[in-house]
Each structure stands twice: as C-alpha cells, then as structure tokens.
C-alpha cells in the first residue's frame, strides 16, 4: 500500500515536471496521449469491466467533437458551456444507441455498434452544411476562464496541464466507479451474466450504465481533441478510430484501467514514428492485433498483475 502511494506521487511529479521540460514535438505527443488515455479508459469500462465488446465508439468521439465545435463556431459560447453541451449531447446519444444495442448483447451488440459507426460516418460525410464533410470545420479555441483568470489554449504548456488535469480527474472518477459496489456488479456481469441476473441485479440497467459512462468519457476525449486541434471533420467518426481503443485495451490489458493507458503510451508513438516512414503501417497494427489476442490475451498490465499475485 505504501509502495503504491510512493508510485502515485512519483508518477504525478514526473508528469508535472515534464510539462515544461519536454521538447515541443514530445510535448505535443504527450498531449495526444493524455486525451486518448481518457478514450482508452472509457473503453475499458465498457469492454474490460463489463464485457461489452463495442466496435463503434468513434460515434461518441465524433458527436462530442462537433458538440463542442458547433456552439463555439456559431454562437461563440465560452469553453465550459460548450464542453457541457458536448457532453450532454453525447450522453443523450449514448442512452438512445445503448438502449438498442445493449439489450441484445453478444454478437448483436458488436454488429449494431459497427452499423451505427459506419452510418454516422456516412452522414458526417454527406451533411456538409452541418459537419463540413471530409474537409471539416475549423474554429478559434475559446479561452479557459476561471472567474477573473483566463488562459489561452494556444499556449502548448497550458494545453499540456489542461489536458493532464482532465486525464487525472477522469482516472480518479473511473477508479472510484469501479471500486464502488456498482463496479463490482459490472465485473459480476462480465464474469457470469446469468448468475448476476439470478442474484437479482437488473443486468440491462447496469450494462446500459456502463455503456453511457463509456460514451460520456469517450465524448470528453473527443471534445478535448477537437479543442486541441481546433478542428473536426467527418474523419472523427472514422471506424478506424473505433479500432484504436480496442488495440490500446488489449495490448495494455483489459479490466485494469491503467493497462489501456499503457497501451496508448506504447502504441501512439509507434504509429507516429512508423507512420512517418511507412504508409502501410496499418498492416503492422493488424498483425499486432492478431498476435496479441493469440499469444498475450491478458495484455501487459494484466500479465504483470498475474505475476505479482502469483509471487
């Protein structure tokens, strides 16, 4: 326990000091990692903890990205209001889509999430008046306002700490959620859905809850990403973006919360650097996915926890 506390403090100190010491391109990569780490954890709540394998989370990423962009662009709302609008819209979408997909579970769940994703992508490409289609829309990032203080997101150091604080807050909230009785029920559902049902839990309600929570944090990630890039396009709904959290979670370790973050830290620089010199890097990702599920299905953190528990 004491060791763990030291570890936490150490990680925090490192993350904090990296903000003003990292060179520009590494800091930029770190900011992306913070944003995508939230996406990865959100996926872990859905798949790692509740056993619902979604292949369509990019829907919420894209919806929230536009949920933030459109109010800022058209009515010039401030940051907190637009972020709230983005998250509320995402939750509404989460409830509606979840209501259709979650009830059936299993293969139906996978297929329905794919269909949603592919259709939303088509719509985003088609409704140029709303989304800007393939070219997308750009906007001026609003200032971060706290009462009388205000900070500019055009300063990368500010962006670093801004995104880091969202990551830490998301981690604490989700950690709290999975340690709570609700989290235990979710794990029970993953392990044996019928038994959880027989004990008397309303399995549908809990699975829907996990789906909506996952949608909410995926949305947070999408909204932050559009804020960072000051841009959103139909590509934010791309099905490839739904594959990312699957890779992160499997490589890092499903059902560990920190594992998916490790996945992001390993995979994103890999894609970033390989992508520069080989345009077919996706085939490596494909091979990696096959390799991981066949040879290391527990993921890195999952294997580590196993080892610690055995010793």
């Amino acid at each position: 326990m004491k060791n763990r506390l030291i570890l936490y403090v150490l990680v925090l100190v490192i993350l904090f000091s990296l903000g003003f010491t990292l060179p520009t391109d590494m800091r930029s990569l770190s900011i992306d990692i913070f944003i995508f780490a939230i996406y990865a954890m959100a996926y872990d709540i859905l798949y790692g903890y509740t056993g619902q394998f979604s292949y369509g989370q990019a829907v919420f990423f894209g919806v929230a990205a536009y949920g933030l962009l459109l109010p800022v662009l058209h009515t010039n709302t401030n940051l907190w209001v637009s972020l709230t609008i983005a998250l509320v819209i995402t939750v509404v979408f989460g409830i509606v889509l979840g209501f259709l997909a979650v009830r059936l579970g299993g293969a139906y769940f996978v297929i329905i999430t794919i269909i949603f994703n592919l259709t939303f992508y088509l719509i985003a490409l088609d409704w140029i008046w709303l989304t800007g289609g393939d070219d997308g829309l750009t906007f001026r990032a609003p200032k971060i306002e706290f009462g009388v203080f205000s900070l500019s997101l055009y300063d990368p150091v500010v962006t670093y700490y801004f995104m880091l604080s969202f990551l830490l807050a998301s981690y604490l909230i989700l950690k709290r959620l999975i340690s709570s009785p609700i989290g235990k029920v979710l794990i029970a559902i993953r392990e044996n859905e019928e038994r959880a049902q027989l004990i008397g839990y309303n399995v549908f309600r809990y699975k829907l809850l996990a789906y909506v929570v996952s949608a909410l944090f995926t949305g947070l990630s999408g909204a932050l990403y559009s804020l960072r890039t000051r841009y959103a396009s139909a590509d934010y709904f791309n099905i490839a973006l739904s594959v990312q959290p699957i890779i992160w979670t499997l490589v890092g370790g499903a059902g560990t919360l920190t594992g998916p973050i490790v996945g992001v830290i390993l995979i994103n620089p890999l894609i970033y650097y390989i992508g520069v010199w080989w345009k077919h890097y996706l085939s490596i990702i494909g091979a990696l996915m096959i390799f991981v599920v066949i040879y290391s299905p527990k993921g890195i953190v999952g294997n580590l926890i196993n080892k610690i528990e055995k010793s």
Partner: protein
C-alpha cells in the same frame, strides 16, 4: 385516373431492376456472413474485404489477361484458399472467444486492405462490362450484363441451396450448426466443416465482389459499405437464419433503390438503419428468427 409521366414509370422500373440485381449480389455476401456466424459464432469483419478482393481480382483478370471471367474464377479460388488458411491459422486459436475472433478479423481486414493498397493502389478503378449489350423493353434501356449478373447470382444461390440441403457436406454443416458436440459424436469431422464453411463464405463474398466490379467502382475500402449493408440485412433477417437473410436482402435492397429516387443514398441508408432499429424493438432477434 391521374396520368402518370412515363419517366416516373421508367424510373420505378429501373429502381426495381437495380434493386433485384443488387439484392441478389448482396444476398451472396450476406449469406456467407450468416453461414459463418451461424456455425462458428464469428462476426467476420474481414467479410467485406473478401468482397473487395473479388472485385480487385476481377479487375486484374481484365488488366492482365483481358478476361473478366478468368478474373472472377481466380477470385473465387483465391479467396476460398485464403479463407481456409485464415480459419486454420489465426481463427482456430481464438475459437469460442467471440470478442477475440472479432479482433482477429479486424486485424485480417487491415492486412488485406493494406496489401491491396500497396499493390492495386489507392485510386478507384473501373472494370468494363464484359457484356456490352443493352436490352430495350418496357420503354427503358437496360444493360444486359446486369440481367446476366442477376442470373448468375440466382444460380449461385440455388447451387448453395442444393449444396446445403441435398448433399452430405451440407448436412454436416447444418448438423454442426445445430449442435457441434452431437454432430462430432455422430462422426462428423467438425474441424473440417469449420474450414469448409469459412472458405465457402469467403468464396461467396468474392463472387459477389467480382460480379459487382463492373457495376460499381473498385476501391480498396469498397468492402466497408457492403459490410454495413450486409450487417443491417443479417440483423433484420435474424442472425444465422438463411431464409431471413435472403428475404431481408430483397427488402432492404429494393427499399434503398426506391428511396434513392427521391433522396440521397445516405438518406436511404439512414432509413434502413431506422428500420433496423424498429425491427430490434419489435422482434429483437430479427424478423425470421425461430
């Protein structure tokens, strides 16, 4: 009687014809998908890429040998072998773990797409229609090739029906679909049935792709759209139900063709999605589930 403009009648006849042709092609793809799912519980994400491979190989048939038919046959043989190899090598180790089979087929899908992108290129290509004849009837001109496609697809569907319901192989597949353990106890080599079914499904998808190549554009991501529509069809028809898949293919295909008379293809797709949503609410396991 309100006089109807002849052009509208023509458009409706065209929509029906296109709808039927497209339904037969997509039925080939969707039946392969539902067959694989029904037997092995595998949601095959790479299924759309087998379709794409079919179209790409048909294009190569024309480009290299100036022979579309050779390309189509090549496509079927190649994907059948690929399907068997894939089932044996990368799907077998994760069998019975539905989420992992999805991941493996996503990985496979990426590898196929990137291989095609590297060799075939990223720009859409067209394949000339192998039969350059238009037939005039009911006041419209319709390419004979499309009617021919409908005929070939129809024959392939009948052949599939004969294979599944009149041959011992089909009997083994259906028996394994019902109960693997009992089928195995009766002396059926379920392992071989798996390989055969996956291979058959891949081949059907490639046949659909090859036949569709002259009608649509050949592109390395063309499988995604077909995957989406096939999934909507198998959900409406009922996962694993062959009859349901066939009927749903006709319903959705005709419907989308009718709607595109007055709206964009994307809006037609959204309506298909809404219909799927309604079916899920009324009959969660599909229209023709047992």
């Amino acid at each position: 009687m309100v006089p109807i403009e002849p052009t509208i009648v023509n458009k409706i006849i065209l929509a029906i014809l296109n709808g039927v042709v497209w339904a037969l092609i997509i039925a080939l793809v969707a039946l392969g998908l539902t067959l694989i799912f029904g037997l092995m519980d595998i949601v095959n994400i790479a299924h759309g890429d087998f379709y794409m491979l079919g179209a790409v190989l048909a294009w190569y048939g024309v480009a290299l040998f100036n022979n579309f038919w050779l390309g189509a046959v090549m496509a079927m043989i190649f994907t059948a072998i690929l399907g068997a190899v894939v089932e044996r090598s990368i799907i077998r180790p994760v069998e019975g773990l539905p989420a992992f089979t999805v991941v493996v087929t996503i990985g496979l899908s990426y590898i196929i797409q990137q291989s095609v992108l590297a060799t075939f290129g990223g720009s859409p290509q067209t394949v000339p229609e192998p039969i350059r004849l238009t037939i005039e009837f009911l006041g419209i001109r319709y390419p004979a090739y499309r009617l021919f496609v409908a005929g070939v697809s129809g024959l392939a569907l009948i052949a599939l029906g004969v294979f599944l319901f009149k041959t011992p192989y089909g009997l083994w597949i259906r028996a394994s679909m019902q109960d693997k353990e009992i089928a195995s106890a009766m002396g059926i080599n379920v392992s071989n049935v798996y390989i055969m079914t996956f291979s058959l499904g891949a081949m059907l998808s490639a046949l659909g792709g090859a036949l569709a190549a002259p009608i649509t554009q050949v592109f390395y991501l063309m499988g995604l759209d077909v995957l989406a529509i096939s999934f909507i069809i198998v959900i409406i028809g009922g996962l694993g139900s062959l009859k349901g898949t066939l009927i749903a293919a006709f319903i959705i295909s005709l419907l989308e063709n009718f709607i595109t008379l007055v709206a964009t293809p994307t809006e037609a797709r959204v309506i298909s999605l809404l219909i799927m949503g309604a079916v899920l609410l009324i009959r969660p396991k599909g229209l023709f589930s047992t």
